[in-house]
């Protein structure tokens, strides 16, 4: 086993995220790795296949900045607000470029990660039957039928997802590179274990990870790189470290509606920022 290395965020992205990679930035409504996404944008990665259950504002930004060739997802909205306008502009008007979509339900994508983490080629679920998602998924090769060998029941299979690199944000790492996250931990364990490489940004480096309720620990030897990025989830949040910036999520609706305003915001707050700290409080 090889333990993870502590790197700066810019080094971690430069070393472990390449053009054309399948990249999952996970965090379900909590601990979304925004700072790492911004560094991917700053380093100008292209032709990425990005995977996320809820693309959220972070993938709206990656898409609008032209990093994305294809997106695998299950819910592409601005939670509690409405549309992701940059995603819509790419899909509806090919701006700044067209993107391919492979879409799942939450259960479909979660089980694709579970299969990936188990190193199985597919996962099984009951959903999809009768929907156009199933039809589309069959065309894209993401969804298929499978028959229960015991009951003959027809179920849905989803192709496993094994990202080249998964990026997550966590509350803590210790000096050996073990990682702990807590609160709503979403699908992060599966996304990390399904990937070839895993980058974790953390709020804090601590001497010891004290066991606590509702926490998961990812041992150092399933993590590739740890980067210390306080507030690296903004405008999402890190339970016990920060609050979700609901105002920014609402404000993003206006920023992202307009191509020029979007570009200007990204220029000011992301492109001209340092590569190793989080963008925080960038509301205009």
């Amino acid at each position: 086993m090889t333990r993870s290395t502590q790197l700066s965020l810019s080094e971690a992205i430069a070393t472990h995220v390449e053009d054309g990679d399948v990249v999952a930035l996970e965090g379900f409504t909590h601990l979304i790795p925004f700072a790492a996404g911004h560094e991917i944008i700053r380093q100008g990665r292209r032709d990425l296949t990005v995977v996320r259950m809820t693309p959220d504002v972070i993938y709206d930004q990656l898409i609008g900045m032209g990093c994305v060739a294809r997106m695998i997802f299950s819910y592409g909205g601005n939670p509690g607000v409405g549309s992701l306008h940059r995603m819509r502009d790419a899909v509806e008007n090919d701006w700044p470029a067209s993107i391919d979509l492979i879409e799942h339900s939450h259960a479909g994508l979660a089980n694709a990660y579970v299969a990936g983490a188990s190193r199985l080629p597919f996962g099984v679920l009951k959903g999809y039957a009768g929907t156009d998602l199933e039809e589309r998924g069959r065309q894209s090769g993401a969804i298929a039928f499978v028959e229960c060998p015991f009951t003959g029941q027809r179920l849905s299979a989803v192709r496993a997802i094994n990202p080249d690199v998964t990026v997550i944000h966590a509350q803590q790492a210790d000096r050996d590179g073990n990682v702990m996250l807590w609160g709503l931990t979403g699908v992060q364990k599966e996304a990390v274990l399904a990937a070839d490489r895993a980058i974790v940004t953390v709020e804090e480096i601590v001497d010891e990870l004290a066991p606590r309720p509702h926490a998961i620990v990812l041992p150092s030897w399933v993590v590739t790189a740890v980067a210390h990025v306080p507030n690296g989830a903004w405008p999402s949040y890190a339970h016990d470290y920060s609050k979700r910036d609901n105002r920014f999520y609402a404000a993003w609706d206006e920023i992202a509606r307009d191509r020029e305003r979007f570009r200007a915001w990204m220029e000011e707050h992301v492109l001209s920022a340092s590569g190793d700290t989080a963008t925080v409080g960038g509301e205009p």
Binding site: T29, H30, G77, E103, A107, A129, D132, L184, G186
Partner: protein
């Protein structure tokens, strides 16, 4: 979200309050964002104090002090009886049929309560790209009952969906049984105009109209020839208590945000 602070209920407020009334105490509710979230939390503050709120983000028996703005609010994590991973929530809880009532919204709905939340227009060249499926297909398939909350218009109540994201009653010929779905499917659709319920074949029938709405208005807001029940009930107007509680709940969110 309504900005009304006092005065008569807005159509959206009536819709939310009528949706809340459909919740019975001690039911297990799967709650998303938007009107369903408001309806479930309103029911919990009114007649269903022991209903159990489950959020797809992994919070089981959350008891949020404030109306959550997203399903990932830290308030949900802090007040839940248990937190589970997202795959566990979707497989062991939602998919396994442990939800009594799932709430769904819709961009388009057809007469058999099938739902589109994916695209308006052609999939490959859409007029409007919508957020997509989320948890809706499994909620629709596996929850014991589904309550749909949607504003009614010819644009949303359509003859034919542009995309079938979630199955309600299929084509009305026993689709759910054929597909092995464990839940009963949509049992009620609540709109800003009235209440529709599926008949024996699963086709929606107008069952009640809200105060100030007439049947003709509902027909005109429906993209197919609407079935109307022989007796159409009049929705009990929102009470002072219902309206006050809903507005207080929302005001608390706005002041905190």
């Amino acid at each position: 979200m309504s900005e009304q602070r006092d005065g008569a209920p807005t159509p959206e407020e009536t819709m939310t309050i009528v949706a809340a009334r459909e919740v019975r105490d001690r039911q297990v509710l799967l709650v998303g964002v938007g009107p369903p979230n408001a309806a479930a939390n309103l029911a919990r503050r009114l007649h269903a104090p022991d209903c159990v709120l489950v959020y797809e983000s992994g919070a089981i028996e959350a008891k949020p002090v404030r109306l959550p703005l997203s399903i990932g609010d830290d308030d949900l994590a802090e007040t839940a009886a248990e937190l589970v991973s997202v795959p566990e929530m979707l497989n062991y809880w939602v998919g396994a049929g442990r939800i009594d009532v799932g709430f769904l919204g819709a961009a388009q709905i057809d007469r058999f309560c099938n739902i589109n939340t994916t695209v308006i227009g052609a999939y490959d060249d859409p007029k409007v790209r919508l957020p997509g499926a989320g948890g809706a297909p499994e909620i629709a398939a596996a929850s014991r009952e589904v309550i749909v909350v949607v504003r009614q218009s010819k644009r949303s109540f359509v003859e034919k969906l542009d995309f079938v994201t979630s199955i309600g009653h299929g084509d009305g010929s026993g689709t759910r049984e054929r597909l092995n779905f464990s839940g009963a499917g949509p049992t009620v659709v609540i709109t800003d105009l009235g209440v529709l319920r599926p008949g024996p074949d699963g086709e929606l029938e107008l069952a009640a109209i809200h105060p100030g709405v007439d049947v003709e208005q509902v027909r005109e807001s429906t993209g197919w020839p609407l079935r109307v029940r022989d007796v159409v009930e009049a929705t009990e107007p929102p009470s002072e208590r219902e309206l006050h509680t809903l507005r207080e709940m929302r005001a608390a969110v706005r002041s905190a945000a």
